[in-house]
């Protein structure tokens, strides 16, 4: 087990339950018949080549785009029939932070607090900004922030309502080494606090450090999933000391030379 925290493998119920999720764009199947479960405190890495359907999967799970078929339950709430209750429990962070150009950092938190009805928003907001080292930036507009700072602001907004389920789509894109380290720490902290997390990323060595589980997608179809240990062990039978990168290339049939 390479994960640095205890994984709750025996929790009776998943925080994210996905059954036969399928998403078609017109006739094109972006995701086909995807089934998996993520329990509290688990961090699942969603891995696959470009165009494998990772972002589509995450957007379906976050309720941003409707699934064509299948069922998604977030913290026990069906995303299709009880979307409001399900969405109250989740946060989604896209690779490109989406912010309102004309709201300052603090105004973003005030707005988000009203949308999610966060009663103690002032205290929580201040704490989050302190934690993310943005306390001195409350009056700045997104246009005055660096990319990393924008991402931090998006995270502060997403974490304001203490979500139980968190989706990260390429969370480390554009961050400097310090930012990457802090992001990793932040993800692990949320997992330790009981959140179920899915991360989509191409940075396999980083996923190997923070994920307890892995799901590999190719052309919208699940190739393999399981705990990090199980998967590495399975591929170690063919070669010693296999890492996630080896697993990725073998599982997806991609040639290393094409990198």
């Amino acid at each position: 087990m390479r994960s640095i925290f205890a994984v709750n493998l025996h929790s009776p119920r998943g925080m994210i339950e996905v059954e036969s999720l399928t998403k078609l764009y017109d006739e094109f199947p972006a995701v086909t018949d995807l089934t998996f479960t993520v329990r509290p405190s688990e961090v699942m890495g969603l891995v696959g080549p470009n165009g494998a359907g990772k972002t589509t999967t995450l957007r379906c799970l976050a309720g941003i785009i409707p699934a064509t078929r299948g069922r998604v339950r977030i913290a026990g709430e069906d995303l299709a029939s009880h979307s409001i209750a399900a969405k109250r429990q989740l946060a989604f962070f896209s690779d490109e932070p989406r912010l309102f150009d004309y709201l300052t950092v603090w105004q973003h938190l005030v707005f988000t607090a009203r949308i999610y009805q966060v009663a103690d928003s002032i205290e929580t907001g201040r704490r989050l900004l302190e934690e993310l080292e943005m306390a001195d930036k409350v009056d700045l507009l997104p246009g005055e922030l660096s990319r990393g700072m924008k991402q931090k602001l998006a995270i502060a907004c997403g974490l304001l309502h203490s979500p139980k389920v968190i989706f990260f789509d390429e969370p480390l894109t554009g961050l400097d080494p310090v930012g990457i380290r802090r992001m990793k720490d932040s993800i692990l902290k949320r997992a330790r606090e009981g959140a179920a997390i899915i991360i989509s990323s191409h940075l396999l060595h980083l996923l190997e450090e923070i994920c307890s589980h892995v799901l590999i997608l190719k052309s919208g179809i699940k190739v393999i999933d399981g705990t990090m240990g199980e998967i590495l062990q399975k591929f170690s039978e063919q070669s010693r000391d296999a890492n996630l990168e080896d697993v990725f290339f073998r599982a997806t049939g991609e040639a290393r030379g094409n990198r």
Binding site: K87, R114, Q117
Partner: protein, 585 residues
């Protein structure tokens, strides 16, 4: 090398056209293209093909005095444009390249001169298109004359101006390199222009004479005086080269055109050599310009059409937002911040105070006949009515702005109707505020009719109250239409994901505008009928003073019911709105 650059231009144009033709397979573009083509035919090309209107105007325009005056005025406009090119700009010479062109061309073994030629070549595409449009428009609005002469004339004017602007930018940069600052250059240009003007005025004073009443008594007299002034003395010498550039456009026939075009082309060629042989470093400034343009494009693609070029500044919140309560209010709060500080409570209170404290006494103290008060009253009433139609087009702090962030909105734990209601509130509130202020002004100042008959205060208050009651719901309905259209036809409405143009988009907008007017009229019909009925009955029993607000209240109830239904339906649309299927090119 220029062959490769030509290849880039031709292939880009070809592929752009192919994309345009391919998207005609989609009904929305095909319908738009048909309507757009019909519009262009009936508005522009019919006259060009039939030649009737143009032929009728040839005779008038061919009058030598009129032609000479047009030539002088055209030359004067060109002179102002040329002076502007030397006076206003403050930045170094920068050629407009796209980021891709810079990435490919700047590191490539391409000389600076080749890059200038590429730029000139590319600007010709825009000049030819502008030439076509200007030829059509000037003929449509009375330009008259032979089409090819007008087109060639426009081409000469635009090309010369383009080359001069480029050459001036190089010359300005060279002046900067020689230590002549922008302000020093401006002082020199301004002094030169002032000297010329002074010389022309002195000449006018001593040789002709200042204008007298007889020179201004008719259009013909004014034209004669202006022509005499510009055709003699220093003005004639200054305007001479500019007249050469304008002359081909105004040529009445082919022979005159050929005679006029030779000196104009000589000037054009001189400009070409001047610009092409300038060896000024423009790369760094071009990089900065490309970056600026890319930021604007990114901003536009993110849906911020109006604020794309402007630097954003922090805006004060219109009111304190608590963390609990209706989420729709959060959207009102957010979008009022987006609209700017002009729409704060303080502004509304000031305007209302102004209307009552200034308009009231003025309205009360006016006596006898006069047109000022009635005009103010009529103008404010017209502005109020216009705001119903123009307001939703100007104020876009709603779904049209935020749908570019649809994935964020979709993530919120809110019902669709809550999002839609919230999004509609800010523009509706602003429009209502504007209309109420106009109403206050109208009620206080519109105390008399033009004939002098007084309008009793009670009547004014009654009509004002009726309008004030009905205004919010009218605004909501007028805003529902474009916002529902965004959800129903995201590809037809400008929400900023992709900037599309062309004849099909003109057609789409025409269809859209017509549809909006029809839907608005249809939505008003039941309320209008009920208003009339209630007003008629109430007027019989309780009089007009009570009848107007009463009928307005009933009509407002009907409109409110329609708005509730529309918002609920739009909420369903928003919940089903598939951001992955949207939009559009």
């Amino acid at each position: 090398m220029i062959g490769a650059l030509l290849y880039l231009q031709v292939q880009s144009l070809r592929n752009r056209l192919r994309v345009r033709v391919r998207r005609l397979k989609k009904p929305k573009y095909l319908a738009g293209a048909l309507v757009g083509a019909a519009y262009c035919y009936f508005f522009f090309f019919r006259n060009l093909l039939a030649g009737r209107r143009g032929a009728a105007l040839v005779e008038y325009n061919s009058a030598p005095e009129t032609m000479a005056l047009f030539e002088l005025l055209g030359a004067l406009v060109l002179l102002v444009m040329v002076l502007s090119a030397w006076f206003f700009p403050h930045e170094r010479a920068a050629l407009v390249f796209s980021e891709a062109e810079m990435a490919f061309l700047f590191p490539a073994p391409v000389t600076r001169k080749t890059l200038i030629h590429f730029k000139l070549l590319r600007s010709q595409a825009a000049i030819l298109l502008t030439t076509l449009l200007l030829t059509l428009v000037t003929r449509r609005f009375g330009g008259g004359g032979t089409a090819w002469i007008r087109a060639a004339g426009w081409w000469v004017v635009l090309s010369t101006l383009n080359l001069h602007t480029l050459g001036a930018s190089f010359a300005r940069t060279r002046l900067l390199e020689h230590g002549i600052s922008n302000w020093r250059r401006r002082i020199i240009v301004l002094s030169g222009a002032a000297l010329l003007l002074l010389a022309a005025l002195l000449w006018l004073h001593h040789t002709i004479r200042p204008p007298e009443a007889s020179d201004l008594e008719s259009l013909k007299a004014i034209k004669y005086y202006v022509r005499r002034t510009l055709e003699s003395g220093p003005a004639a010498y200054v305007l001479f080269p500019f007249r050469l550039v304008v002359r081909p456009y105004l040529a009445p026939d082919g022979g005159a055109f050929l005679l006029a075009v030779v000196p104009a082309l000589a000037l054009l060629l001189a400009h070409y050599f001047w610009a092409a042989r300038s060896d000024v470093a423009f790369e760094e400034a071009s990089l900065a310009l490309a970056q600026k343009r890319a930021e604007i494009v990114a901003s536009v693609r993110a849906g911020h059409w109006h604020g794309a070029a402007a630097k954003k500044t922090k805006k004060r919140a219109p009111f304190g937002l608590r963390s609990t309560g209706s989420p729709a209010v959060a959207f009102l709060w957010k979008n009022l911040i987006s609209a700017g500080q002009a729409f704060s409570l303080r502004t509304w209170l000031f305007l209302a105070f102004f209307a009552i404290c200034v308009g009231g006494p003025i309205g009360a103290t006016q006596h006898g006949h006069g047109w000022v008060m009635p005009t103010v009253g009529i103008v404010t009433a017209i502005l109020g009515a216009y705001s119903l139609f123009l307001g939703p087009a100007i104020l876009r702090q709603d779904l049209r702005q935020d749908l570019a962030n649809a994935d964020v909105l979709k993530m919120y734990p809110l019902r669709g109707w809550q999002v839609v209601l919230g999004e509609l509130l800010a523009p509706a509130a602003i429009l209502t505020g504007v209309q109420w202020c106009l109403l206050l002004l109208s009620v206080t100042m519109f105390s008399r009719l033009p004939e002098g008959d007084t309008i009793p205060l009670a009547n004014r208050l009654s009509i004002g109250a009726g309008a004030a009651i009905i205004a919010p719901m009218l605004n909501l309905i007028s805003l529902v239409i474009p916002n529902a259209s965004v959800l129903l036809f995201p590809a037809w409405v400008q929400i900023g994901r992709e900037h599309v143009g062309g004849i099909e988009v003109i057609g789409q907008r025409l269809i859209f505008m017509l549809g909006s007017v029809l839907v608005f009229a249809f939505a008003l019909l039941p309320a209008g009928v009920l208003f009339g009925l209630v007003f008629f009955l109430a007027n019989l029993f309780v009089g007009v003073i009570v009848a107007v607000p009463l009928a307005a209240a009933v009509a407002t109830t009907v409109l409110a019911a329609e708005a509730i239904l529309a918002i609920w339906w739009m909420g369903r649309l928003f919940e089903r709105f598939d951001v992955s299927a949207e939009p559009a090119a």
